[in-house]
Amino acid sequence: MNGNTVGLTIDRKTMSVPPGTTILEAASAAGIRIPTLCHMKLEDLEYENNPGACRICVVEVEGRRNLAPACKTECTEGMVVHTHTPRVMNARRTVMELILSNHPAECLTCSKNGYCDLQKVAHDLGIREIRYRGEESVFVPDRSPAIVRDMNKCIMCRRCETACNTIQTVGALTAVNRGFRAVVATAFGRDMAGSTCSYCGQCVSVCPTGALSGRSHTDEVLKALADPEKIVIAQTAPAVRTALGRDFGYEAGTLVTGKMVSALRELGFDYVFDTDFAADLTIMEEGTEFLNRLRAEDADGERAKLPLMTSCCPGWVSFVEQHYPELLPRLSTARSPQQMFGSVAKRYFARLLGVERRRLVVVSVMPCLAKKYECSRLEFAVDGNPDVDVSIYTRELARLIRYANIDFRALPDGEFDRPFGESTGAGVIFGTTGGVIEAAMRTAYELYTGRPLPEIEFVRLRGMEGIRSATVDFDGKPVRIGIAHGLGNARRLVEEVLAGKSPYDAIEVMACPGGCIGGGGQPFHRGNMEVLRCRADALYREDAGKPLRKSHENPCVQELYREVLEEPCGPKAHEWLHTRYFDRKNGGTEDSGPEK
């Protein structure tokens, strides 16, 4: 060992590693795989979930009385480790049998079939018999609008508790009870809807088993597709196309836009549109609202409504409603692209087709679970008929495609239908953290100064750091922008706003780390930031390849304003494209709450 490295031997391979390295890290660096269940390393969020609770990764360390958890035991000088001795294998198999003895053996009908860590490790260990049978826990499954909790499948790995408390600081999930009845649950065993959960779905994206899964609406979609009376419209979010391929063997970040559109047509969708169109619409509304607030500040120096905070992420909106209701006026009143699209489709497109709104079924394909909750909010329905009928997430679309036996890789590249298939580069980058504010600035700058933005790509706003900021010069007036992804980081910016010390004029918040490309409905990235970077780069590539790159240049958007909406933030726009929020912290419900 020379000064600052530690020499050790694992399975007769000698190596030297920096101090503080765990046996698991040292072994994997040397190509030795050790199975883990509760361990989860989120490199870029500098967080590691290794409570040492599952004990699957135990290894034999010479001179130690009992077996050592590889995920938590740091290497020491001269340590000799054996990872697959008979004693270790007997221990691992017995521990796995114990976990399986309190786990429902219904893999074939489980939503996580094929993607479950427990299934994989049990398979690798070759478990054929569970020798220790006995009482099994019986928890009532909890079906909230977006997330389904079946705690009989919980193996107490504490990943969701870490995600919900340490990364997202929402604090809806925690371990309760003690001993055999210990499980992760919400306060007082209430269902998710009764807790402070904001449906960001990060718990679902880290859960190794089927305990936490997205709510499935495939049946509703299939019913609508089969109904000849209904006209079924699809709108696909920008982040979906960067990840859908993953479930069909494509590399992370491969754009499969064309094949996705063809698959939707194969499934029987009458019209396949692009949510990016509504993203451009959102920029028009939100950009104008931002400029109005800026001009209000110029006029009378009144900063009550600044910084403006984006409202396209329902998880973030729900978080503000639950934890910081006093900041609701700072939220942009613009609806999210999903809801704007639904509203325009059911009001304008229905009229174009000359049909009644009830005959239209709008299905949104989102990278996110919270969108299921958003489209179910009462204020987004007109006399009982929701603007967006169903929202399905990326993995759910992949299931539908497999369900219909479509050979995804062999599909030709299809095109979005017009007019709502048309979108600009600004709409596309909505899917990644920093994308919304960059799109907004491209338009706001031009509307404010009358001149186009010199360098269109805000490299300074891009990247994966938790909190980022930048200043754009609007003809001498510095506009300061703040960006946060992950609700834990958002909370830090919000605390500044609350204390009146926030340096920003506009803040973009995405509830999920990485933004929508890391959403709760996306194919699992297990905290591997490399996957998220590839998806973000894919969006930026598609943006660069687009002829039109600023939202206000979108012809269909311009036509919509000419035909119907007249001007952004006008009376018509307010009715169709804006909304209001409710204080959920002090017992507010759907219908009561502060006026916008």
């Binding site: 040492g52 135990v58 017995t94 003690r178 001993g179």
Partner: protein, 596 residues
């Protein structure tokens, strides 16, 4: 006013439960009535240790030891003994072997072989009067350390004394203090572990109730050595009296300047706070205790890092047990060599044991390390109750094992007990006789562990549950020999893989009963018989027709009227109704009721 008499009344929890407070009041009234108030004093002391014979009253100056005193006896004690100097014979202790009444406690077998260091002041001083503690060299050790010794010298003294942790682990105390001292960090903590979760162990309680200042002084010395200025006592909620005595002691120590700032002019400041447990045996484990003190769920953490490096609030924390602390002042005053002269080669000093179970003298004893089990159980404990035959003694509580006839002559110390398949534990010693079934004893301990496991790691949360279920199967008469093998493998794996001390030692009761009483397990499995008649499902009560006179006494006594038959005719027990409570056996004068 020269005091001629002092009447010491035991104020321990046990005796107070038998109204020792009313005895005090009655004695004081009686003394006032006889006009002796200026000659005789009534003083409440801590526990004498002889709980079986409580409430205990000791009259000074003739050292008369009264046992099982009732409030009504006060009148006779004063009028006969104080007024006429004539002892009340019926209240004297009767030595079980010689059947002689012994008055001076020094001649009572229970006390003769004891060497009381940790319990030196218990039953001697009034715990709520700091003066009496000071009168017996109280705080002199602290004074000596603060003004005459450097921290290193004090630690050296403790190391040379060979003192090891009395909480159960037996980790060398001096070494622990040195590690905490050397651990970097300007804020450090000293913790006294008074959780004492072991059922059947109450030595910490007696020390805290009888001599709280010795713990406070030792904690201050510990603070001086390790560089901590704050001490925390984590005490379980089930000890209200100990908490009360501690609060009084802390108040008096602060008042006397022996706690707080600039103690004895040395510039060293140290204060102590009480932290409550809330009913969790696992919080006896260091890391779980620390999390509990931080207001969290008491879940153990993987070690290292050890609390000495990173513990309470992330600072170096030195955790020691109550009894360990009680030894410290004496070691400093009488010197390490004196202490090292007591005990065995690798276990120095004395150990306090709580004798309980089927033994004549239930109570608290303190014997030098190296005393044999035989001396403790038969010499001091007065042998087995009701003349029954000794079967086993369980040491170390739920983490310990049971020792049998062949272990009676091994000298008690940490290593010998470990070698014999048990462990020292906190000192709980449960004696069992021929009527105790070892399989159901193991089941009792597993039932305890399953209830008290924190549920964080799979081997303990699920493993101990399965062990308990296997034992239920065996005591229910449905066990197979293969179950015995599974019991052993599962127990060994749990011991090998559990995260903390509780889980790693919870299989010990099973493993040691399997080793020492294999025949009993086989009887339960092969013949479905429990020779100790404790496993209800394997016990059959029946009436032998030849002996039964039909006196119907048993029929009337049976709570579930499972016994039928007319007067003067042989009766019969319906095995399906019988709940095996044994009332019929007790009531039958002719021995007609039999157990099989």
């Amino acid at each position: 006013m020269t005091i001629g008499w002092q009447v010491l009344v035991c104020g321990g929890t046990g005796c107070r439960a038998s109204q020792s407070e009313r005895i005090e009041k009655a004695l004081k009234e009686e003394i006032r009535r006889c006009g002796l108030e200026d000659e005789a004093q009534v003083i409440r002391t801590g526990c004498f240790g002889f709980c079986e014979k409580g409430p205990v009253v000791k009259v000074i100056p003739d050292n008369t030891f009264y046992v099982q005193v009732r409030p009504e006896d006060a009148e006779e004690i004063v009028s006969e003994h104080l007024l006429k100097g004539c002892r009340v014979r019926r209240l004297l202790y009767v030595d079980p072997e010689t059947h002689l009444r012994v008055s001076d406690s020094k001649h009572i077998g229970f006390y003769r072989k004891q060497l009381r260091i940790a319990l030196r002041n218990c039953g001697f001083i009034d715990p709520e009067n700091i003066g009496e503690y000071i009168a017996r060299d109280g705080y002199a050790a602290l004074g000596k350390a603060l003004t005459g010794m450097t921290p290193e010298e004090v630690i050296g003294e403790i190391e040379r004394s060979g003192l090891r942790g009395r909480g159960g682990g037996g980790f060398p105390t001096g070494l622990k203090w040195k590690i905490t001292r050397q651990a970097p960090g300007e804020r450090k903590y000293v913790v006294c572990n008074a959780d004492e979760g072991d059922p059947g162990a109450f030595m910490d309680r007696s020390i805290l109730e009888g001599d709280p200042h010795s713990v406070l002084e030792a904690m201050a010395i510990n603070g001086y050595c390790t560089g901590a200025s704050k001490g925390l006592i984590y005490i379980r909620a089930e000890y209200p009296l100990a908490v009360e005595r501690l609060k009084t002691a802390i108040g008096q120590a602060r008042e006397a300047g022996l706690l707080g700032d600039d103690i004895l002019g040395s510039g060293f400041s140290f204060d102590v706070e009480i932290r409550y447990g809330a009913g969790a045996f696992v919080c006896g484990e260091e890391t779980a205790l620390i999390r509990s003190m931080e207001g969290q769920r008491g879940e153990a953490m993987v070690k290292p890092p050890f609390p000495s490096e990173r513990g309470y609030a992330g600072c170096p924390t030195n955790v020691n047990n109550v009894e360990t602390y009680a030894n410290i002042p004496v070691i400093l005053l009488k010197g390490a060599d004196w202490f090292a002269g007591i005990g065995t080669e690798r276990s120095k000093g004395t150990k306090v044991f709580a004798l309980a179970g089927k033994i004549n003298n239930v109570g608290l004893i303190e014997v030098p390390m190296g005393t044999t089990l035989r001396e403790v159980i038969f010499g001091i404990g007065g042998g087995i109750k009701n003349g029954k035959k000794f079967k086993a003694v369980q040491t170390g509580g739920p983490s310990g094992g049971c020792l049998t006839e062949k272990h009676l002559d091994i000298p008690i110390d940490y290593d010998n007990l470990l070698a014999a398949g048990s462990m020292m534990g906190s000192g709980g010693m449960i004696v069992m006789d021929e009527d105790d079934c070892m399989v159901s004893m193991a089941k009792f301990y597993l039932d305890f562990t399953v209830e008290e496991s924190c549920g964080k790691c799979a081997p303990c949360r699920v493993g101990n549950k399965r062990l308990h279920e296997l034992l239920q199967k065996i005591t229910g008469g449905k066990g197979t020999e293969e179950d015995l093998e599974r019991l052993r493998n599962l127990a060994l794996v749990i011991r090998d893989t559990a995260l903390c001390g509780l889980g790693q030692t919870s299989p010990n009761p099973v493993l040691s009963t399997l080793d020492n009483f294999r025949d009993e397990y086989l009887a339960h499995v092969r013949e479905q018989r429990c020779y100790a008649h404790q496993c209800r499902d394997l016990t059959q009560y029946f009436i032998s027709p030849e002996i039964c006179r039909g006196c119907t006494l048993c029929a009337r006594a049976c709570p579930v009227n499972a016994i039928s038959g007319e007067r003067k005719h042989p009766h019969a027990i319906d095995p399906l109704l019988c709940v095996r409570c044994g009332s019929c056996l007790e009531k039958c004068k002719f021995g007609a009721v039999r157990v099989r």
